[in-house]
Symmetry: C2
Subunit: 320 residues, 2 copies
């Protein structure tokens, strides 16, 4: 292990992050940064109530990924899980479940529900779950309040995130996106500290509009990023004019944006100091913005670790 | 089918009932009385919060029994159920679950939780579940409020019912039993109507102290039984100086009572007009109390149906 690596291990890194795409970079960072110095500030705009449970898809995806439990084929859910309860809801009670809940996955939802009912905050609950899974990295919900992402679509009207994403398989055309009740939310002490104490703040290659924007909608968080001493660096979710997976490119087009890394950098304007572009893209030339090109595709474990290591090393080279 | 049977089919029967023992008579009654004329007023003193869920053991035992879903070996739970979620709570999260929740069973708890969170009462929720399972009989929780049975024990202090019954396998010595918050509970309109409209009111051979007493603790219910025009008849839970199953005899001894059908009849004094004793017991001779002796052991389906038929026919013979 070289010096570069040792210094990375000693860094405190905070990461704004969503679901599957972001979790790839997160698992790379786990190999490069000492886990107890890693804080993930996770999108909870996708959270919803379902069958009485509080479901936190992005927190769970990240947690299952980092704990090595994730279904490797899907990038979410638990590997080798079954759906006996779900099938009983359908066969015995005649319901038509549209959101997959695995039987092993249900253990997470029941434990979370139990702790929330006992009065613990979502931050405390997420911390408890992560520690029980042996994770030293901190998984911080972006806030403790409900701040649901609402999709205004062309032909289905307003949709909750999971209705849009899962029930309608992100097919409705997005007219606008809003973050309901954001005036009622506030930064948790844990998120405030994670941003203040970070040596580097990353924005994972998650969907900027669906996964990162809800985090930025938490009152005070945008200002905290601007005030932070640490450099803020985004990793492109757009490679060669397309998203690796999911609706990022589709939504950009529907919102009238060019499907390009430049439009993503523009979206983060005023927040980011640096931008990790992909080697497959053209160089980005934006005033007052550091940028580099790395292989951001993360097709295997080595590629994830390499991207994490090279990103941190590059930032260390220009941030003082 | 004889005349006796036809008249039974036309009767409205209300049954105060607990769990496994009572459910046997209930399944017999389903074959003798038109199900839509059957109302079960079910003990909910055993209900408790567990893993964020509202668990209603007696309602579920009765519902699963009448719907033909019950595990025939145990008399509770769902047949051929698995415990994948429970095992995940143990293996993945390091919990030690002491209350068995099957995966198929969880479908019931999730649907109940969902409906309760939407603001429906426990009576409405129980009705919805039963109808989805195709049951025409009414399964009425004794009240909509929480009215938990508390066991005061010798060496464990106060125990919630499931702690006493499941966690400690009813081994602690019972000093007294109380029904917490009963002043906050009230008879639901559905229970009031079921008692008022009944042609016959039965008290199932459930544990008088643990299963029937909580029902009688609902404010107004005891008075409603006294005022009811219908005869009120209890079926003995004591056969030949013992309970068929469970802690009835043990508790009677611990409470300083003689373990006998006479002590049970005395416990119901002032409420019951009749008592169905077992053929294995001595005849009961109590002033102003009708009594007969029938085979109450219910070892198979035919015995359950016979007991139900003979009980109703006997009552019809003396009640005007």
């Amino acid at each position: 292990m070289g010096n570069e690596n040792n210094s990375a291990l000693a860094m405190k890194v905070a990461v704004l992050i969503g679901g599957v795409g972001g979790a790839k970079l997160a698992s790379g960072l786990m190999q490069v940064v000492a886990p107890e110095r890693l804080s993930f500030i996770v999108n909870t705009g996708d959270d919803f109530r379902h069958l009485g449970l509080k479901i936190c898809p992005d927190l769970d995806t990240l947690m299952y990924t980092l704990a090595g439990l994730v279904n490797p084929e899907w990038g979410w859910g638990i590997a080798e899980d079954s759906t006996i309860t779900l099938e009983s809801l359908e066969r015995t009670y005649g319901l038509e479940p549209w959101f997959r809940l695995g039987d092993k996955d249900l253990a997470t939802h029941l434990l979370r529900l139990d702790l929330l009912q006992r009065g613990y905050s979502l931050t405390e609950v997420s911390d408890c779950l992560a520690r029980r899974l042996g994770l030293a990295a901190r998984l911080l919900p972006m806030c403790d309040e409900d701040l649901p992402t609402i999709i205004c679509s062309d032909n289905h009207g307003e949709l909750g995130f999971q209705e849009y994403f899962v029930k309608h398989r992100w097919q409705p055309v997005v007219k606008s996106i809003s973050y309901r009740d954001c005036e009622k939310a506030s930064m948790s002490p844990a998120v405030t500290v994670a941003i203040e104490e970070a040596d580097i703040i990353l924005i994972a290659p998650s969907n900027p509009w669906l996964s990162v924007a809800p985090v930025l909608a938490v009152p005070g968080l945008r200002t905290a990023l601007k005030r932070a001493l640490a450099p803020v660096v985004a990793v492109t979710p757009i490679i060669a004019g397309a998203a690796v997976k999911g609706p990022t490119a589709k939504i950009m087009a529907e919102l009238g944006l060019q499907v390009s890394e430049a439009a993503v950098a523009e979206f983060y304007h005023g927040i980011i100091d640096g931008f990790v572009n992909d080697i497959r893209n053209q160089p980005l030339d934006v005033a007052n913005l550091q940028s580099t090109r790395l292989d951001t595709l993360m097709t295997d474990k080595l590629a994830k670790v390499n991207l994490a290591r090279e990103t941190l090393a590059w930032i260390a080279g220009w941030a003082s």
